[in-house]
């Protein structure tokens, strides 16, 4: 059983060590105690180790691709997609959407909802697969556009929270990515083709936006293919 130390700085070091994996926490605090490190020195060593661990993670390409190539740009696009879905849904319920007839309105809503959910799901799954240890950074990079848009979204007919609709499938995608990785390559390729077709049919978007939205779906398909071949 670990010895209880009354030095407040040591307590702070022990609290900071909670940021480390359990086995490493044990070894590091034990080493510091064995060398009679002061509380302040122990706290500094633990924080420095945590910082170095984080820096080590960012020496790979994956966190950069996921953070700057997926979480940040996709969030902006998906915020807009969420509003489109909410708007289409409102059109189905109350009329006044893009289509005057009910069937057209429902179809538009379904297409937009499927595209938004599919892209968000694949994005979340890719984030979890590529860089699970920097999830918090990706979450932060996703949160920045969300807060920015929430603070500026002003309309009487829609709640500002409709902006965040995409977060539900995105979080489901993250959960699946963390637990199972990706599905079979046929399923993943099918999803990628379906989403590409939906995107091309639905939105008048630039090639860059298309790439930002769809690269996770195609990455998952390619990655699943590689895994199947192995």
């Amino acid at each position: 059983m670990a010895t209880v130390i009354v030095d407040p700085m040591w307590s702070a070091a022990e609290a900071a060590a909670l940021l480390l994996p359990a086995s490493e926490r044990e070894a590091v605090l034990g080493d510091l105690m064995e060398t009679d490190a002061s509380g302040w020195k122990a706290l500094r060593a633990v924080i420095w180790l945590r910082v170095r661990r984080e820096v080590e993670l960012w020496r790979r390409w994956q966190p950069w691709a996921v953070g700057l190539g997926l979480a940040l740009p996709s969030s902006f696009v998906l915020l807009g997609a969420s509003v489109s879905v909410a708007w289409a849904f409102r059109g189905v319920l109350h009329g006044g959407g893009l289509h005057p007839d009910l069937v057209g309105g429902v179809l538009t809503f379904l297409e937009q909802a499927l595209l938004m959910a599919g892209v968000a799901w694949c994005g979340g799954q890719t984030v979890a697969l590529l860089s699970r240890r920097t999830l918090w950074t990706s979450a932060l990079l996703c949160l920045i556009p969300c807060c920015f848009c929430l603070s500026r979204f002003r309309t009487e007919v829609l709640s500002p929270w409709c902006l965040l609709l995409f977060l539900v499938p995105a979080m489901c995608g993250i959960a699946v990515g963390l637990r199972r990785g990706h599905g079979g390559w046929k399923v993943q390729t099918g999803i990628a083709v379906f989403l590409t077709a939906l995107a091309l049919a639905q939105w008048r978007i630039t090639l860059l936006t298309l790439c930002v939205l769809l690269w996770p779906a195609w990455y998952l398909a390619t990655s699943a293919r590689k895994t199947d071949l192995q």
């Binding site: 059983m1 670990a2 010895t3 130390i5 086995s23 490493e24 044990e26 070894a27 590091v28 605090l29 034990g30 080493d31 510091l32 105690m33 064995e34 060398t35 060593a45 633990v46 420095w48 180790l49 910082v51 170095r52 661990r53 080590e56």
Partner: protein
């Protein structure tokens, strides 16, 4: 090829044998180099070496002086020994002809002659 600090860790671990763990390796490096070896640098490099397959590590026994906390024991793999040997031989080879090496060789030869 491995880096200088990686070599220091491998060599300290090899010298310590069965007693190679975080604090002991750190003490060994500080004693040999006269420089402070931070825990952050030590553990991130140990992880990197383990990732390269040059060492294996496991949680060892807990002792009272460590407040009942376990040690992270380290052992070199065959690949680790080869990598350290290669580094040593490279440094030795490249150092031939350097003024400080030549001087030391002269002194060593003089001592041998006096004996």
């Amino acid at each position: 090829m491995i880096g200088e600090f990686e070599y220091l860790i491998l060599t300290a671990a090899a010298s310590l044998g069965e007693e190679a763990y975080g604090a002991a390796i750190r003490a060994g490096i500080e004693e040999a180099t006269g420089r402070v070896c931070s825990i952050g640098a030590l553990y991130t490099t140990i992880d990197r070496l383990e990732g390269k397959g040059l060492i294996t590590s496991w949680m060892g026994e807990a002792t009272a002086e460590r407040g009942g906390r376990a040690k992270r024991m380290v052992r070199l793999t065959a690949a680790g020994e080869t990598a350290a040997k290669e580094f040593y031989e490279t440094v030795t080879r490249i150092s031939r002809g350097a003024s400080w090496v030549s001087n030391r060789t002269v002194v060593r030869e003089a001592i041998a002659w006096l004996r």
